[in-house]
């Protein structure tokens, strides 16, 4: 079974905890790193980690470098890394803005963060579609 190397960027500690728990239990993703904002992510990337993630799942609203900044920056510095944006907002404009900026796709967060199972399944399907 295909597994994907993943980095998670989410400023809310609790959210991030439940999110990564769901990814781990699915066994479809290998979590290389968890970060609270874009600054932490890029710092880690520039520090030449042993392995680069295939995809980055990023929240949009974060202090410091937010999700949009990550999309903009990685498009230039790490064009091979696919960025998937996520947010509680399901406003169409938000999704479109992310796609326009260069995100592979946008997935709305589940209603409550203890229900990330289906979110993980959806991201897996998308990852398979885009990355093979």
């Amino acid at each position: 079974m295909r597994t994907f190397r993943l980095a998670i960027v989410e400023n809310d500690e609790d959210e991030r905890y439940f999110m990564s728990e769901a990814f781990r239990s699915s066994r479809e993703f290998e979590i290389l790193g968890e970060f609270a904002n874009g600054d932490q992510l890029t710092e880690w990337l520039h520090g030449s980690p042993g392995e680069l993630p295939e995809l980055v799942l990023s929240d949009l609203n974060m202090p410091g470098k937010n999700g949009y900044d990550i999309i903009d920056e990685l498009k230039v510095t790490y064009p091979d890394i696919a960025v998937f944006a996520t947010s509680t907002s399901s406003v169409v404009a938000t999704r479109e803005r992310c796609m326009r900026a260069g995100a592979k796709d946008f997935i709305a967060k589940p209603d409550i963060f203890i229900a990330y199972d289906s979110f993980v399944a959806e991201l897996y399907l998308l990852a398979c579609r885009y990355l093979g």
Partner: protein
């Protein structure tokens, strides 16, 4: 002294030569010698012809003497040669001489040098001949003589050409043949001769008849000729065919008439002529309609009557003519007066008019009443101005609406995200607690409840801030004259706790004393900027400077700190609502402060921006209009 015949003979001033019966010279007097140049002794006993014309023509001489014999007296004229071989025109009068016994004794020859007389006569002849030839050769004029009764005496080429008769057809005929039958019946030819005789000459133009019966339009001058005794000897008649001229004139007259009626009937343009002095000499319908004057009103008046008083005082009418005279044309638009004193906006063109010899004969003036056009142009302009203004207002409203719309969108995004987030957190923990209860993990409940309460607390703050922010756009701006020191002082006062806690030093160096604006909002502006300056430090005691000065008619404020500063890529982002550069745990905040600052400044039609150098703190600049 006894006068005998010999003495008389010698002293006579007429040249006399006496010949014997055979024609030989017997003697001559001194006067004869003076004429011929020969002394008596030189020619004595020589035949008379030796002092003749140098041809020694005895036959002609014999003939002359024979003629004397027959007629007793014979006079001949002819060239003779003097002794010096010069010529003279001689009048030679021969007469017979008889002795006491009445026997033929010889000839007496009276010799006169009449060269001068002859020359005059010849000159006269020559000039008469030239004149005759000239008259005869003239073709454009028929020139001929009539006798006192009116019969044709002479004829010239012009006569043949104009009347159609040759000389031998017409000489001797009465000149009435040139007149149409009706004129003949009225005895016009006779009348005309009478007039010419009485007045010396008679001139007229009229129809005449050619030989072929066709009519032509003739200009005739009939002049009575009197001799030195004042006796009428006849008439000269000079006739010219003016049919072509008449035709040309007729065409010209018709064309002029057409043109005049055209000009007179033009209703939309005032077209009239001025003489060189600017007096009106013609007037048309258009001029009447535009200016209200009839032709009788204005003909002969100066055209300045159409000008407003100030133009007349400025000498404008005369100046316009001067321009037209020097450059051929003057054109302008301006106010003119109608007869009733009302104004109209005129387009006028004054053009110099020259006669065929290039002399200025006057001016034409064309006037158009553009009042209606001007009015409609102005109305159009006004309505277009109005529409432009409306469009501008609409565009302003539109951009205001768009910005409100953007704010609304932003607001929606914020509500949907930032507000949803804590709700979601509360919900998530409630669900988690439900699970924990089911699983009877009571010890895990407490932390979950704590996190839920924190999330609810955060939501409360967010809603407060959001309301505060949105109030900024809603509430009407209260513009008051404010003391800068008081505004900044109030902001510092509100931050009293933070200032004391941080031990900050805030220096205010304000060159500007007053500003106009909303007190509450401007206090909020400085309060937020100062709060940030106190908050974003890296352990150092905050040092804050607030300065103000006038710059290009605007007031510039600068709030400068010695804090952590802002990296270049974030200098603009910091003004976005809910944008935070740092985690709450590090620098607490809700991402609303600078968004509020920006909104306040924009509501005061100003500008705010941040500058920051590495590790040199942040510097916020504000430009506000003075009023």
């Amino acid at each position: 002294m006894h006068l005998n015949s010999a003495l008389i003979f010698r002293n006579l001033t007429e040249g006399i030569i006496l010949l014997d019966e055979t024609g030989r010279i017997t003697t001559c007097n001194a006067a004869a010698s003076a004429i011929t140049g020969y002394e008596e002794t030189e020619i004595e006993a020589k035949p008379f012809y030796t002092i003749g014309d140098g041809q020694d023509d005895p036959i002609k001489y014999r003939y002359e003497l024979d003629q004397v014999q027959k007629k007793k007296k014979f006079v001949v004229e002819g060239w003779k040669l003097r002794k010096d071989h010069t010529r003279y025109w001689a009048e030679t009068s021969y007469s017979l001489l008889f002795d006491d016994a009445e026997r033929f004794a010889g000839y007496c020859v009276l010799l006169r040098d009449i060269t001068d007389q002859k020359k005059k006569q010849l000159d006269l002849l020559e000039s008469e001949e030239r004149y005759r030839l000239m008259v005869e050769a003239i073709r454009d004029y028929s020139i001929f003589m009539l006798d006192p009764e009116g019969h044709v005496l002479t004829w010239n080429d012009g006569g043949t050409f104009i009347h159609g008769y040759t000389e031998n057809e017409i000489v001797g005929k009465h000149f009435s043949v040139f007149y149409p039958a009706t004129d003949q019946l009225d005895e016009k030819p006779k009348e005309k001769l009478q007039v010419a005789r009485d007045a010396g000459s008679y001139r007229e133009e009229g129809w005449r008849v050619k030989k072929d019966g066709s009519l032509f339009w003739a200009s005739v001058v009939l002049t009575a000729l009197f001799n030195e005794r004042n006796v009428l000897i006849g008439y000269s008649k000079v006739t010219r065919d003016l049919t072509h001229r008449l035709k040309d004139e007729e065409v010209l007259r018709q064309s002029e008439a057409r043109y005049r009626s055209l000009v007179e009937q033009v209703g939309d343009y005032g077209i009239f002529m001025l003489d060189t002095k600017g007096r009106i000499v013609s007037w048309n319908e258009g001029a009447r309609r535009i200016k209200g004057y009839s032709a009788e009103d204005v003909i002969g008046k100066y055209f300045s009557i159409f000008y407003p008083e100030e133009d007349i005082l400025n000498g404008k009418p005369a100046w316009e003519l001067k321009v037209a005279r020097s450059s051929g044309k003057y054109e302008e638009e301006g106010w003119r007066l109608r007869k009733d004193g009302s104004r109209f906006w005129a387009n006028i063109v004054i053009t110099s008019v020259y006669d065929t010899e290039g002399r200025l004969s006057g001016f034409s003036k064309v006037t158009r009443d553009l009042t209606e056009r001007k009015m409609s142009e102005q109305a159009l302009q006004e309505s277009s101005d109005k529409y432009r203004q409306l469009a501008e207002e609409l565009s302003v409203t539109n951009s205001e609406l768009s910005s409100v719309n953007r704010e609304l969108e932003q607001f929606t995004a914020i509500v949907s995200h930032d507000l949803k987030e804590p709700v979601r957190t509360v919900r998530s923990f409630l669900h988690l607690m439900d699970q924990q209860l089911d699983q009877q993990k009571f010890d895990l409940l407490k932390p979950s409840i704590g996190k839920g309460i924190l999330a609810a607390q955060r939501m409360h703050e967010l809603i407060d801030n959001l309301l505060h922010y949105s109030q900024l756009s809603k509430i009407g701006l209260q513009r008051q004259k404010l003391k800068v020191d008081e505004v900044i002082g109030e902001a510092i006062q509100n931050l009293n706790d933070a200032v004391e806690q941080s031990g900050a030093e805030i220096r205010v160096e304000s060159e500007v004393q007053f500003i106009y604006g909303d007190r509450i909002q401007l206090v909020q502006l400085f309060q937020n900027l100062l709060a940030n300056a106190l908050k974003f430090t890296n352990g150092l005691t905050p040092e804050v400077k607030v300065k103000s000065w006038m710059e290009n008619g605007s007031v510039r404020f600068v709030v400068e700190d010695n804090g952590i500063g802002i990296s270049p890529e974030n200098l603009e982002k910091i003004f976005e609502i809910f944008r935070r550069l740092h985690f709450v745990s590090q620098y607490p905040g809700n991402g609303v402060g600078l968004a509020v600052c920006k909104k306040v400044v924009e509501r005061h039609r100003g500008r705010i921006w941040a500058e920051s150098a590495q590790n040199r703190g942040a510097c916020f600049h504000i430009m506000l209009p003075k009023i």
